[in-house]
Point group: C2
Chain length 161, copies 2
Amino acid sequence: MTQVRKATDGDKPAVWQIIKAVIAGGDTYTFAPDTPMAEMLAFWFSPEKYVYVADADGVILGTYWLKANQPGLGDHVGNGGYMVSPGAKGRGIGKLMAEHSIEEGRRIGYHSIQFNFVVKSNAVAVKLWKSVGFEIIGEIPDAIRHSRDGLTNAYIMYRKL
Amino acid sequence: MTQVRKATDGDKPAVWQIIKAVIAGGDTYTFAPDTPMAEMLAFWFSPEKYVYVADADGVILGTYWLKANQPGLGDHVGNGGYMVSPGAKGRGIGKLMAEHSIEEGRRIGYHSIQFNFVVKSNAVAVKLWKSVGFEIIGEIPDAIRHSRDGLTNAYIMYRKL
């Protein structure tokens, strides 16, 4: 059984394996594919974030974080980043984390969640977010130098909580 | 005569006076109006930023910065933040910095500039950015707890360079 729970320092090696595999694609996140482990883990686990993992009987299949998208007068809008282990695709891990994050966002006190950067050609992600109530509120032209497709747009997505 | 030039450490006290006055309004930036000087200057002058001031014969009337809006595969899109001293409104300082930043953005190598957060009711800013070629590519509902108007939308604006 897969449960989503708060990440601990002990999860960092497994989280890094997922991040490394995901950014290697150069197609869903803007992080350079060769970004070093220390830099990525410092980002993923930065102090202002709430970090979670999808734990299948001790095997980490995905990870996500939530944080306020703006400081001060804008900190009622949450923001998140999500990654699923490439080996665990199609098992509903993304959906499980998406639904968990909506509940967690409410618990933290966010009024809404905004994603600043969902690559337009990442059909799995766009479909997933729409399926849990997010809508597209903007589109950034030529936002990522996609590893296969070159300059590619990204969506901004949003959901009230 | 007002010239826009790179900011130096010696400009920090004057830059802080501008930031302090602007964020006190609670109507154009999400920074809490009581954010401490050290925190704001650390943000405004963070290492990845190019920081500039509008200098009128030694009097600093405005400041702005540019940085990449995303890391790695997204670092061809610039981002910026701009503030004009409340005492210097209506003197064209915003326009001067806007035009300067378009040239600087090209020099740095950005393909475009994206603003993630232009408060919808900040008519002066929206008009200024449209006048120099920016368009609205998205709108975030209830993005800022505006000091007078309560929950207020923000625009995402964009211009190719």
